[in-house]
């Protein structure tokens, strides 16, 4: 019987702790326990045997930290030796003990590094690290893969993909939750279950960190959300330090008492982690092996997730922000062409602040490389926002790339009833997980009747099922078509929504604003149609959350439909809002220059908008903006103005420049730039605060900044400098350990692009240090960089 077959027939038991027991036997602090597979074989075999005698079904190999980072192979043991020995030890123990059928789980723990963007380990590199271990495990004949103690859902995803792309073995995944029920990276049980189920693991659960008592509540949640078997491997309580030794207090009796309850709640796989011993497992098996597994009820929940939160598509309408999309937006197109991610990130943040639950992400533009842009935008958005994203593209390569690097269970926009499209999209959904939008159209176009659209929807459901994708992971787009060309079209859409809800218990989505295309005052029609659609069962509205009219429909609908307890959300949004938009309170009579000096961003843009009616753009810049910036800059240098104020002023000036820029573009003028500058935080350095301070100031002084980001390899800096013929490069490094990369960058620049000047800055640098690594200028702060730029570029 394979482990897959055994699941559900009877409870399955893992062994208990390894590291904690080895410590008692003399494993030193900082010593790698995996080395014991070779140097203390007998200890490992004996430990395995004790667990087998205690009744464990599955042995975890002693390979928790076995990966290339810890065993690089240039000295000491090679990874293959360690993993092979570990599996042989488990096999030997099983052979010597005999008895019932046992299983060997290749144990895979976290790499010990944080993935990008928070750490420096690349997602694909992590995936490859895991693959190496899995390949050895498969070659040695393990029965299943256990990915355990994962505190970062992204790393768990990399490990799961590594397994799935290497073999067909069953994969079990347990994550480590804090007492607050969250992963270290912020995910909760629901978002984690969504991600893991989406990736098609065989069983999921919790291990380490907590004792059985603290795990109970979390287990309850896992059982509530999961439609696959749940694993529970607790510690023997919370660790405590006694005379410099870590001790665990929960006795086998206490452990088993709670584990019995957990088994009766519905967990199918039970075992132990740190501090648990063969005695714990023995009592656990004795008392629980006769408990019949509680049947798993499939949970018909439609869930998408980010790394930190889950969004349930169901009872309450879900708002999907539509603004990250270049269609009809010239500014957005320009941002894409210029790789101006800040603009896109701002669109994302604004929508979140306005109440979006999910953000649609579309970066399709004929002249850009959509695949790399999609990946970049998804990663950037996820580095600052915790909302789930909807990957919106018809480029399947971009779709796959985005689904792969996405941290969570994404929404995918879209598939439709065309055979060819279904064949391209469904395998991706099956592999990476996701909730996919199914457009109710196919080779024959958009059906004119609701019946026609229902038939397409049915085809989509059916085909998805043949790929192993459940209906709960499909959201049907009933298609909103403008009433300006067919006055009956809204009714068809509404009927489709209603029938999907009533006849199929399915979920629906609409790009709401399409309904009014070609009509004046579209918001009037859109907001009313939005209400009608929600009343007819619309689950997800793709709308503009910045539209007050749409948000009014949303909040009012929720309040009227008993989806807003005590009208709490409605009141929170509208109680303090005066019914008619009144003029903003006048903030005395500041000049633009004063507003900038005081760092008043909104006031600065209002004043600029007023001024531009009567004054030339250039005059505003020269008479107000630049003098104000100079004033603040001088204050900063004298020590009367401090960094936060300097930056607030810079942001106010930036807001003013935006107004001027828009006006100039309207009248066909082009704003003169003074010169081009590259800014980058050097390779190995993952903090870009200093660089961003410099950037905002340089931009205000009309320099065109090429912001290459952080952790930038020297080659990329040099390549950009050559390609754009850059005369000044600014480099930032925070640590002595990364200044070496600054030096390497300078060296390469000198060789490849000798006419480029280099200014450096950062916490550990001094003028002497800067000189010794070959920089032209050391800038002690942001203003010093501005002055140097003026000296070099004018």
């Amino acid at each position: 019987m394979t482990i897959r077959e055994k699941l559900g027939k009877e409870l399955v038991f893992f062994d208990g702790g390894t590291g904690t027991i080895l410590q008692e036997q003399g494993l030193g602090a900082g010593e790698l326990p995996e080395i014991w597979n070779i140097e203390h074989r007998e200890a490992i075999v004996s430990l395995h045997k004790n667990y087998l005698l205690a009744g464990a079904d599955i042995l975890k190999t002693n390979t928790f930290g076995a990966n290339r980072l810890k065993f690089p192979g240039n000295e000491g043991y090679r990874l293959t030796e360690i993993v092979t020995a570990a599996i042989q030890n488990a096999k030997q123990a099983i052979n010597e003990v005999g008895g019932k059928q046992r299983y060997i789980a290749l144990d895979i723990g976290p790499t010990g590094k944080l993935l990008k963007p928070m750490g420096d380990l690349d997602f694909e590199d992590a995936c490859n690290l895991f693959k190496e271990v899995v390949q050895i495990g498969v070659a040695c004949g393990v029965d299943l893969i256990l990915i355990e103690t994962m505190s970062d859902s992204y790393e768990a995803k990399a490990a799961i993909l590594a397994v799935k792309e290497t073999c067909d073995l069953p994969v079990f995944v347990t994550t480590i939750y804090g007492e607050n029920g969250k992963l270290l990276t912020g995910g909760d049980t629901e978002s984690t279950v969504a991600l893991l189920e989406g990736l098609g693991v065989d069983a999921l659960g919790i291990n380490c960190g907590l004792g059985p008592v603290q795990m109970k509540g979390i287990c309850e949640q896992l059982l509530q959300y999961a439609s696959i078997p749940v694993i529970v491997n607790p510690n023997a309580g919370l660790p405590r330090s006694e005379n410099g030794k870590t001790v665990f207090d929960v006795t086998p009796e206490q452990f088993t008492d709670t584990m019995e309850e957990i088994a009766k709640m519905g967990a199918w796989v039970l075992g132990g982690c740190c501090g648990t011993t063969p005695e714990h497992i023995q009592m656990l098996v004795e008392r629980c092996s006769s408990i019949a597994p509680v049947p798993i009820v499939p949970k018909e929940r439609t869930v998408v997730s980010s790394y930190a939160q889950a969004v349930v598509i169901g009872k309450s309408p879900v708002i999907i922000g539509e603004r990250i999309n270049p269609t009809g937006k010239s500014k957005f197109k320009q941002a894409l062409r210029e790789h101006n991610l800040e603009y896109i990130l701002n669109e994302g943040l604004t929508q979140q602040e306005k109440g979006a639950h999910i953000l649609d992400v579309n970066v399709g533009l004929p002249e850009i490389d959509e695949v790399s842009m999609m990946e970049k935008v998804i990663k950037e958005l996820q580095s600052i926002l915790d909302l789930p994203l909807q990957i919106d593209t018809s480029n399947f390569e971009a779709m796959e790339r985005a689904m792969r690097v996405y941290n969570g269970k994404p929404m995918i926009n879209s598939v439709n009833g065309k055979q060819e499209v279904m064949e391209a999209v469904f395998p991706l959904v099956k592999k990476y997980g996701g909730v996919v939008v199914g457009l109710a159209l196919d080779e024959n176009g958009i059906p004119e009747t609701a019946q026609g659209r229902i038939e397409v929807a049915e085809k989509i459901y059916r085909t998805a099922k043949s790929y192993g994708i459940e209906s709960k992971d499909i959201v049907i787009d009933a298609l909103a078509m403008t009433i300006s060309s067919d006055s009956g079209s809204a009714l068809v859409t509404l009927e489709t929504l209603r029938r999907i809800r009533d006849e199929y218990h399915g979920k629906t989505i609409l790009g709401v604003s399409n309904i009014s295309f070609g009509l004046p005052q579209r918001e009037i029609v859109n907001s009313t149609f939005y209400t009608m659609a929600m009343q007819n069962g619309l689950n997800c509205g793709i709308i503009n959350p910045n539209s007050e009219a749409m948000m009014r429909s949303y909040y009012a609908f929720k309040a009227l439909s008993n989806l807003d307890e005590q009208c709490g959300d409605y009141i929170a949004h509208y109680a303090n809002q005066v019914s008619n938009v009144s003029a903003p309170a006048k903030q005395s009579d500041l000049t633009l220059a004063q507003a900038i000096e005081k760092g008043l961003k909104e006031r600065a843009s209002e004043l600029t908008a007023e001024l531009i009616q009567t004054k030339e753009a250039l005059d505003i810049i020269n008479e107000q903006l630049i003098p104000a910036l100079d004033q603040v800059g001088k204050g900063f240098e004298k020590g009367t103005v401090f960094l936060p104020q300097l930056l607030m002023s810079a942001e106010a000036a930036k807001a003013a420049f935006e107004v001027i820029k828009t006006q100039m573009e309207r009248s066909g003028q082009v704003q003169e730039k003074k010169g081009k500058i590259i800014l980058a935080t050097v390779k190995g350095d993952i903090h870009d605060i200093g660089k961003n301070i410099v950037k905002v100031l340089l931009e205000n002084y009309s320099y065109e900044v090429y912001d290459l980001g952080k952790d930038v390899p020297p080659e990329k800096i040099v390549e950009t400098a050559i390609k754009e013929n850059i005369k000044l490069v600014g480099l930032s490094a925070l640590m002595t350990t990364t200044v070496v990369n600054m030096e390497a960058t300078i060296e390469l620049l000198r060789k490849e692009k000798p006419d480029t000047k280099i200014v450096v800055g950062g916490a550990v640098l001094t003028p002497e240090y800067a000189k010794s690594i070959g920089a032209d200028c050391y800038a002690k702060d942001a203003m010093a960089t501005v002055h140097y730029a003026q000296e070099i570029l004018g």
Binding site: G28, A29, G30, G109, P110, G112, K113, L114, P117, M118, G119, D120, T149, S151, G178, N180, K182, L184, T185, G186, C208, S241, G244, T246, E342, L345, N346, L349, S383, I384, L385, D386, K598, G599, F642, L643, P644, Q645, L647, M648, A650, E651, G684, D685, I686, H687, D688, I689, N692, I693, K695, V696, L734, M735, T736, T737, T738, N741
Partner: protein
Amino acid sequence: MISVDKKEVLRYLGYGRSEADIQVMRSIESAIEKLQHAAQPRWLYDVFPLQLGSENQIDFFCFKAHSKHLSKNLKGCEKVVIFAATLGIQVDLLIERYVKLQISQGVIMQAVAAAMIEQFCDECQEEIRQKMELEGWYLRPRFSPGYGDFSLNHQTEIISVLQCPKKIGLTLTDSLLMAPAKSVTAVIGLSRTQQPCHRHGCEACEKKDCAFRR
């Protein structure tokens, strides 16, 4: 919840003893609130024997170091606490959001978080102090890799000895940056005799021209 001393925040922002205007103070307050919400502070420590050898050799019995400054700090100690603490990754994410989109707030967030991790370490250290004093041990000021001539490389050993990645989610990058960034590793000497007046952190540092000096 970790309290934050606004004076310390202003010091990190380069204000020295100057006052900040109301707009900046409001931003600081708002940053404190957001960061208190985001922080998932975790810490741990372990006690090891200590042997001070000749020529500033130090043996922690889990790793060895060579440092004149640390030897001075640990003089007379028989044991050592190896310590690590972090505010968690959510703090990094929050700071990153503002660093990317509103740098003025990003700078303030970063200063607040810096004050917050120091405050958190002080609280942890106080807990260790109380416990150790019951056993008759007195604490020296905590000393981190990178202080004086105590090499930053020892960060690797501290993090591995305490199993920081697994236990509190604290990791190191290849360039020895800590991730999450708002984290501290340190050693704290334990001696049988109390040292009534020792210099703390900033004042003990020999970099006297530092802009952030207290």
